[in-house]
């Protein structure tokens, strides 16, 4: 009798240890759990690629138009930097076996729950037409392409400052909603680099001759 009870207890203990180990391993392993298809991490990686693509386009456009070495260098930095980051975002989704296409509308992930449980507005959600924060309109892009000289530079700086501010809101939004280490590290990098770009562009905009 005592022996059968002992065996039962041993089985329970073994299963508990196994399951506990499994759960601890699952949550502490350096290889993270693959984020769900509808997770904030995946949504951020998809939408930020679209957001970055427009920054690359605008930066390449002004680099073709402007002859100001400082502005052309900044544009070069933004275009190559964001292009590289887009590739990293693409690669993360691929390595997790997640589709590049989203089953949800743009920015839907920003209305998901935040980690600390607050209902605070961590970053702004999509505007009513479903676009992302800070994105230039098609008309603004056309205007930029046909602009010249200081007017083009002023328009670029104005649009890109707004674009970066939108990018900051998205980075802040995902940091409030994910613990996936690769995404956390990327979002923090975006916060730092885009804030520094905003400071530089604000100074450049102020230094432009009035017109």
């Amino acid at each position: 009798m005592n022996r059968s009870r002992l065996v039962a207890a041993a089985i329970v203990v073994a299963v508990l240890l196994g399951a506990g180990g499994f759960l601890i391993g699952r949550f502490s392993s350096p290889t993270p759990v693959v984020p769900a298809d509808s997770s904030a991490a995946a949504g951020f990686l998809r939408d930020m690629q679209v957001h970055h693509a427009q920054a690359v386009d605008m930066a390449m456009t002004i680099r073709d138009i402007s002859d100001d070495p400082a502005l052309r260098r900044l544009a070069y930095d933004i275009a190559l930097g964001q292009s590289n980051q887009s590739g990293q975002m693409y690669g993360l989704l691929e390595s997790w076996g997640l589709s590049q296409a989203s089953s949800q509308p743009p920015m839907a992930w920003m209305s998901g729950p935040v980690i600390d449980g607050s209902s605070g507005d961590h970053g702004h959600t999509a505007s009513s037409d479903g676009t992302m924060p800070g994105m230039a309109t098609a008309a603004q892009l056309t205007e930029l392409r046909s602009a010249t000289g200081v007017a083009a530079e002023r328009l670029f700086l104005t649009l890109m400052i707004a674009h970066h501010q939108g990018g900051l809101a998205m980075a802040e939004g995902v940091l409030a909603r994910t613990t996936v280490p690769q995404v956390v590290s990327m979002a923090k990098g975006i916060e730092v680099s885009q804030q520094s770009d905003i400071d530089a562009m604000t100074a450049m905009l102020a230094a432009l001759p009035a017109g």
């Binding site: 039962a8 399951a19 699952r26 296409a101």
Partner: protein
């Protein structure tokens, strides 16, 4: 004086045996109860733990929505050349879904006029999808296609002499449908938009050349 009648030795022994038997039966019943309780609790514990593990797995590994079963009619094309050529190319499939193309890519977006094949194929090489429709498709259906077209890495345009109302193409893959509401269109986008099977996914889809009728 004692009122109880004096028991015989044999009577006393019989009573003792009965009492012993009673005690033994009680102990036996208690032991049996405990055993059942132990087993029941063990089973319950194991079930609870298994349920917890399963729950964790299910919550964390939500499979992505799998609509690939809708892609049975997709045609695929292997061994496509990706050389840059000037002039027109005679593609083996229509609309073209890969092959030699113009050095300049077409800027992605919505077009209301046919676009040059050789520039559009360059977009497919960069991971875009190209949605084409018969020029006489009703406007309401074209609007549905516009809503379906991704905001980057996608071209929407009419296509002359298309042998189906709607075709969606990626590098090396193509699907033709009659209905803009056909869920296979979204399934195609899920699988082929910015596909890692395109030669250069993520290469630019802007900064090339505009075709006629760009929105």
């Amino acid at each position: 004086m004692s009122t109880a009648p004096k028991q015989t030795k044999a009577q006393r022994q019989a009573e003792q045996r009965a009492a012993q038997l009673e005690t033994f039966k009680k102990k036996e019943a208690a032991r049996k109860r405990n055993r059942i309780l132990t087993i029941a609790l063990s089973v319950l514990g194991v079930v609870a733990v298994v349920a917890l593990v399963v729950t964790v797995i299910v919550i964390n590994v939500q499979p992505k929505p799998d609509n690939s079963a809708l892609l049975g009619n997709v045609q695929t094309f292997d061994n496509l050349e990706a050389t840059h050529v000037e002039g027109t190319v005679d593609y083996t499939m229509s609309p073209p879904a890969g092959g030699p193309h113009n050095p300049v890519w077409l800027n992605c977006g919505i077009y209301d006029q046919p676009v040059p094949n050789e520039n559009a194929v360059h977009d497919l090489e960069h991971g875009s999808v190209w949605i084409t429709y018969q020029p006489d498709l009703p406007q309401a259906e074209i609007d549905k296609l516009k809503a379906l077209t991704p905001s980057t890495y996608a071209v929407l345009s009419p296509f002359e002499d298309l042998d189906a109302p709607i075709a969606i193409s990626a590098w090396g893959a193509q699907l033709k449908v009659t209905d803009p509401d056909d869920p296979a269109l979204q399934a195609f986008i899920d699988k082929y938009w910015k596909s890692a099977d395109a030669p250069e996914p993520g290469a630019p889809c802007t900064g090339g050349v505009d075709g006629p009728g760009k929105e």
